[in-house]
């Protein structure tokens, strides 16, 4: 059957063009790949190549014709043994254009409800699957997390620093799972730039505790490849500031691959390291990246405060089949907390903790700001204001339910973070309260953030730039109209 050759598009936006030149003429034999014509648009010229083998039977659009619409038949190709008489039926000629087929995505894609693709999902509308939470939120639902009885684990505890708790979490998971390994700058021989990996090399050897060159982009990508190929890497950044060198691998490779692969291949990896300001290390070593990573679907973002948080959350992060950004804090490393001794102690990701109950105002915080908020709550109590302090623990997926339930109780809420205000975590909390807690608000949401400047070095300026206890107190009183 004769085959119609159609006017091709040079790009998805091209609708018509000029048939500038015929390179082949009627009677010429062509093979796949042979250039048969040239077409032009105002932007470019391109060659039209034959896809099928045959003989040019008829030219339908003459050289020089302008405004030829895409998919218009421009010539007819005869197969072996056919002659021109076959063209009479050219209306029925097979054209691989199949003009009846509409181009994909003609209609704008309306957001569809989350598919109940399995029985278990359909029967679990309570959001037991934490990974669906942000999707359900996009559809207007705030999901209650599954209860977690932490008190059960708190019967037997030991005092540990955050540093020790993180080390124990890694060591326990490495004992439990042969595929877990730790890699980063100074993690092995040096025992960790902040001594977080102390003793791991001695216990697990240099196959599983690996010092890297100072090439963050390279070893982050190497970790992603290892995770694709069946391992569970824990990649330490000496600070999260250096992870900016590697952010392409974190976002484009680790976070997006599961989706781009249609679910076929995920990336079970933990990127961890100190995040936020330390003490007078200047603008390039002090940034809080919580909102950067929380912006990205496909990542989980965790920010522990206490040593118990650090241990339970890091163990959960290592077991999680998804890429997790684990944001630690250098100043907290040396602080002591009671940590459950049970090796099965893990804290489910996606659940906030109420660190202090109160009825007058809610303070939402994460990482080091939880401690400052608790200090602020003490001061507020002296003035007769009972603040409820929420430790977010996981930034994404955010435990919105716990925040809103607290708001329903206190009707006043502030957020505290070490990051900058613009599009920060506080902005997300404020949006949440607008969208789902508007009727419960007795005062506008207030945000306490770092000053909107690169962090200065001078002691007094640094103090001014970072959120302090008094600022938290002030903001809390403000929303209680007791300023």
């Amino acid at each position: 059957m004769p085959v119609e050759i159609l006017m091709p598009a040079l790009s998805p936006t091209m609708t018509e063009g000029t048939l500038a030149k015929w390179v082949k003429s009627v009677g010429d034999k062509v093979e796949p790949g042979d250039v048969i014509a040239e077409i032009e648009t105002d932007k470019a010229t391109m060659e039209v190549e034959a896809v099928d083998e045959g003989t040019i039977g008829k030219i339908l659009i003459e050289e020089g014709a302008e405004g030829v619409a895409v998919n218009t038949p421009i010539a007819v190709l005869l197969e072996e043994g056919e002659d021109e008489s076959a063209i009479g039926n050219s209306s029925s000629a097979s054209s691989s254009s199949s003009s009846g087929v509409s181009a994909p995505a003609d209609e704008p894609a309306a957001p569809a409800p989350l598919a109940a693709s399995s029985e278990s999902e359909a029967t679990q509308p309570q959001g037991k699957i934490v990974e669906d939470r942000d999707i359900l939120y996009a559809q207007g639902q705030v999901i209650e997390p599954v209860p977690f009885d932490e008190a059960l684990f708190l019967k037997n505890t030991q005092d540990q620093t955050v540093r020790e708790a993180l080390r124990d979490a890694m060591a326990e998971e490495m004992r439990r799972d042969e595929t877990v390994f730790v890699m980063g700058e100074e993690v092995a021989e040096y025992q960790g730039a902040y001594k977080v990996t102390q003793g791991l090399l001695q216990e697990f050897g240099d196959k599983r505790v690996i010092d890297t060159p100072i090439t963050e982009h390279g070893f982050a990508g190497l970790g992603v490849g290892a995770a694709f190929n069946g391992l569970r890497p824990v990649i330490e950044f000496m600070t999260m500031n250096f992870a900016m060198q590697a952010i392409d691998q974190i976002i484009n490779s680790a976070a997006k691959t599961l989706y781009m692969a249609g679910g076929q291949m995920g990336c079970p990896i933990v990127f961890r390291g100190p995040n936020g300001a330390a003490a007078r290390v200047g603008a390039q070593h002090s940034q809080d990246y919580a909102s950067w990573y929380a912006h990205v679907p496909g990542l989980k973002v965790v920010a522990p405060w206490s040593a118990a948080d650090a241990k339970g959350l890091l163990k959960a992060a290592i077991r999680d089949p998804n890429p997790v950004m684990f944001l630690e804090n250098e100043i907290l490393y040396g602080q002591n907390f009671a940590v459950p001794t049970d090796e099965d102690f893990t804290i489910p990701l996606g659940r906030a903790k109420i660190e202090r109950e109160g009825k007058d105002v809610t303070i939402v915080a994460y990482s080091i700001m939880v401690g400052k908020s608790l200090e602020a709550a003490k001061k507020l109590a002296e003035e007769g204001i009972e603040a409820e302090v929420i430790n977010l623990r996981t930034i994404r997926p955010l435990d919105r339910w716990t925040v809103l339930e607290s708001l329903k109780k206190t009707n006043r809420i502030i957020s505290v973070e070490e990051g900058w205000p613009f599009a920060g975590i506080g902005a997300e909390i404020a949006a949440l309260c607008m969208e789902h807690g508007f009727d419960y608000l007795d005062a506008p949401v207030r945000r306490v953030c770092a000053a909107d400047v690169p962090l200065p070095y001078a002691a007094n300026l640094e103090q001014l730039a970072l959120p302090q206890i008094d600022e938290i107190v002030h903001a809390a009183k403000d929303v209680c109209y007791k300023g």
Binding site: L6, E49, P104, A109, P213, L222, F228
Partner: protein, 345 residues
């Protein structure tokens, strides 16, 4: 002991007797197999170009036409446990490692039957079954990932080698140098394949790369070799030697495959930066399929047998194109799936 970088005699016309020392003499069976595999890639890509022209494939579409010998030759000496990762000019690699042309074409048209169920597109397809790890859209990003695949091979002790493909443009990326360093330092089983098609998009290699790309590993002690990437047997022989070296526990190896892409960088690139004479020099004088056809003729392989392969490939490609148009668009509910792996609590 590090082997010095060397340059195979790629300026000469490919002549198997001089290209490699202990290379096995190709037989009719191997020639036929290579012809079939390379023709599948050629015809598949031509069809993809056609579907693009009809508006059935959108976005970016980077065709592999002209470079078929590279992936075909390397794949032929791999072992089943080996892994592959490449950039965005990736359809040829998928077909070479045995992925179903229907699934690849349906991904190009963004349909339900595609390897990523329509959510990845031309640059983002994966197959765990075939150890094909993508399909990556960021120039050079696949190189540390390939190094990580190799790290896992060594860690697990599965005797696998990772094939990390990159273009001449990607070879300049900092993360490639970072990868070379770590792979050499830890003797990782990775074969770096630089597919030098002489242009990083529109910038020719002599304008974007200082020095020879196969020598970029020298400082790290990684042996490198330049190979005629238009001759599938030169490719196969070089890859076999490199893989033997790597599997011997010696660490990484670099093969720079001198090749050429006939089409633009992507479908929307009219390729004004090079002359027609230059393109036809390769197309007419150094085409991987023509070189192989000549060898097959000399070998006395019957014209009818070759025609039968041509017809078979034509059918496979037409079927894949039909499937790619018939397969429905993804269910709208797919928008929300596969963001995170679900953990049952």
């Amino acid at each position: 002991m590090p082997v010095a970088a060397k340059k195979s005699d790629s300026k000469k016309k490919p002549d198997l007797k001089t290209v490699s020392n202990s290379a096995p003499v190709p037989d009719a069976e191997e020639m036929t197999r290579f012809y079939r595999e390379m023709l599948l890639i050629r015809r598949f890509e031509e069809k993809a170009g056609q579907l693009y022209g009809m508006g059935l494939i959108g976005g970016f579409c980077h065709l592999y036409i002209g470079q078929e010998a590279v992936v075909t030759g390397i794949q032929s000496v791999q072992e089943p446990q080996d892994s592959i990762v490449t950039a965005y000019r990736d359809h040829g690699h998928m077909l070479a490692c045995g992925m179903d042309p229907k699934g690849v074409m349906a991904e190009l048209t963004g349909r339900r039957g595609g390897y990523s169920r329509g959510k990845g597109g031309s640059m983002h397809m994966f197959s765990r079954e075939k150890n094909f790890y993508g399909g990556h859209g960021i120039v050079g990003a696949q190189v540390p990932i390939g190094t990580g695949l190799a790290f896992a091979h060594k860690y697990k002790g599965d005797n696998g080698v990772a094939m990390a493909y990159m273009g001449d443009g990607a070879a300049n990326q900092g993360q490639v140098a970072e990868s070379y360093n770590m792979a050499a330092l830890w003797k990782l089983p990775v074969l770096y394949v630089i597919e030098n098609n002489r242009y990083g998009m529109g910038t020719s290699a002599d304008r974007h790369a200082a020095g020879a790309l196969y020598r970029r590993g020298e400082g790290y002690g990684i042996p490198g070799e330049q190979v005629d990437g238009m001759d599938v047997f030169s490719v196969r022989n070089a890859a076999r030697q490199a893989l033997d070296y790597i599997r011997g526990g010696n660490g990484p190896y670099i093969l720079e495959m001198m090749t050429y892409r006939y089409r633009g960088h992507s479908m929307s690139d009219p390729a004004k930066y090079r002359s027609k004479d230059e393109v036809s020099k390769y197309k007419d004088g150094h085409d991987p399929l023509l070189i192989l056809r000549r060898m097959m003729d000399e070998q006395g392989i019957a014209e009818d047998d070759i025609k039968a392969i041509d017809r078979e490939i034509k059918d496979i490609v037409n079927e894949s194109a039909a499937f790619a148009q018939e397969s429905p668009e993804p269910d709208p509910a797919e928008l929300w799936t596969d963001v995170l792996v679900k953990v049952e609590e």
